[in-house]
């Protein structure tokens, strides 16, 4: 019996496997962070749970595919893809907020949920009409292919790049939230919107900006993921479920919580697939259920 268990967990003593899975877990966690940070920020300020966030991530990836194809130079194409996806999604986010979401802030929860849920289908089918049903991919720029050698192990460069990008975005977000005037407004809005608006802050513009920022982060995440995932119509469904798991574990409205939970879910996914190959999906949801039972507001969530 013990031998069987030891055999089952033999990978745990293999440094190559451990390093590879850790790296994969952390870098996937960073992609999860890009989407869940926006989801959490939007919920914190607008009090709307945006089910369409996965669709925004998918659109980011698709826009990246189209933008990268415009330029002949792979590196310039990749850079343009990142910028194009983030900018395109910021515009789309602003359009969605001003035309649709703005009308339902005072509506009951089920109306808000339904509106963003309806958007999932509209954006999903719109993507099928524009980009077709087939799966696309973009190549990585040459300087990000290959691996870095250290401690006798090989680390894929693109994974390291994803981690660096995630950390840079997280740091930028932290600076925005804690070191700028808009950041103060955003944090104040998560605490008391009415008070903020009574103090003379234009909360309508703030809401548009926050939704556009969240959408841009999702778009950037999609563009960064484009070289390592199959970019097709089914992409948004899996992504939104993972992002939900993350914000629920991290606590709705907390960006730091989303960061910690993203790493946690990324690592649980990466090692779960080794430890329990047939039940790895169950593992993340079980994680979420346990956190919710022990600490219903999530790791860093505030009480409503």
């Amino acid at each position: 019996m013990l031998e069987l268990i030891a055999q089952h967990f033999a990978w745990a003593q293999n440094p190559v496997v451990l390093a590879r899975q850790t790296l994969a877990g952390i870098s996937n966690g960073m992609l999860l962070f890009l989407i869940s940070a926006g989801l959490s920020l939007i919920f914190g300020v607008l009090r709307v749970l945006n089910f369409a966030h996965g669709a925004l991530f998918m659109l980011g990836a698709l826009i990246a595919v189209s933008t990268a194809a415009l330029l002949a130079d792979p590196l310039a194409g990749f850079a343009a893809a990142l910028i194009g996806a983030a900018a395109g999604l910021a515009l789309l986010g602003a359009a969605i907020e001003t035309n649709l979401l703005r009308r339902i802030y005072r509506a009951p929860h089920e109306m808000q949920l339904l509106l963003t849920f309806g958007l999932v289908f509209i954006l999903g089918d719109a993507a099928k009409i524009i980009w077709g049903r087939e799966e696309h991919s973009i190549g990585m720029p040459a300087i990000l292919t290959g691996g870095a050698h250290a401690f006798g192990l090989v680390f894929p460069l693109y994974r390291l790049f994803l981690i660096a990008a995630g950390v840079i975005v997280a740091a930028g977000l932290w600076l925005t939230l804690y070191r700028t005037r808009w950041g103060i407004f955003i944090r104040a809005a998560t605490m008391d919107r009415e008070m903020l608006s009574a103090l003379g802050i234009n909360t309508r513009r703030l809401f548009t900006a926050v939704f556009a920022l969240g959408a841009a982060l999702a778009g950037l995440g999609g563009a960064l993921a484009a070289p390592v995932v199959a970019v097709g119509p089914g992409l948004h469904a899996q992504v939104i479920v993972d992002a939900f798991v993350v914000v629920v574990i991290g606590g709705l409205g907390s960006v730091l919580g989303a960061f910690i939970a993203s790493l946690l879910v990324g690592l649980v996914n990466a090692f779960g697939i080794l430890a329990f190959p047939s039940a790895s999906v169950v593992l993340t949801f079980a994680c979420m259920a346990i956190v919710l039972i022990v600490r219903p507001r999530g790791l860093l969530g505030t009480i409503e």
């Binding site: 929860h109 089920e110 999932v120 999903g124 939900f244």
Partner: protein, 323 residues
Amino acid sequence: MSAQHAGQLAAAAALLALPFGLSDFWVFISVEVLAFALYAVSFNLLLGYGGMLSFGHAAFLGVGGYTAALLVKQSGLPPALTLACLPFAAMFVSAAAALIIGLFSVRRVGIYFAMLTFAFQMLLYAVALKATPLTGGDDGLTGLKPPGFLAQPRAYYYFALALTAVSLYVLHRVVTSPFGYTLRALRANALRVQYLGVNVRAHRLAAFVVSGAFAGLAGAIFALVNGNVFPGWLDWTASATPIVMAVLGGTGTFLGPAVGAAVYVVLEVLISGRTEYWPLMMGIIIVILVLLMPEGLTGLWRLAMVRRRGGVGGVPLSTRESR
């Protein structure tokens, strides 16, 4: 005989006569309508009466469906006994699931309650996907047929109609009972009800279990007409369906969600037969519904009635308070 009684009799007669005017295909669709009407009304016990937005109601539709499928395929009981056990087994197992999920979920309200129910439903989804020996995994359980003489579509329609009618009667008794009025009071002001000495959590849990049991029965009815059960039944998009149906029909009335279910199912059949972009159409319908007619179809109907009697249009018709 009052006009209301005449209307009820006419509706009952129409439902009994329905299969004779329809092809086999539309008889199947009618059973689907009955199942989803029960699903939506059971869901609305939570949303419309209790003010609890469950975003994991598909869990119970799925549990009921899998229970029915396993009973028909694996139990080896004679057809008559299978039929007799079917409603009770489906309701019992989904009520048990609702009790466990509810124990943890009813501690929270609003969007947090929705997230908790969502989490448990996804957990069940993952189990359905991975517990292959029991659930058939990704492929689900296929080739289901109603046992015995019910394999005939019209016979199964009457079986489904009887089950749905009895269930709706019971649910109506529940919402018009003191328990039902306590639920409404909870939706309006839970704190005040608590001050009156009511055990809020126990009431919410009871509503959750009753709702889950009837959703399970709806799942069982649908499983046998659909012919298969697969993990997609437990996916998060399936949990949005009863919300769409309830809001489409109108959450403010008892039968509104049933009307919404009928319209939704028939629209899906008609539109998905003509275009592959049914999701796009549904998305547009949902956005229009939310932005332009939040009171649903029954709300529009009441508005039309008020206008015809010379009342003032545009007066807020809803007695629901925002939460």
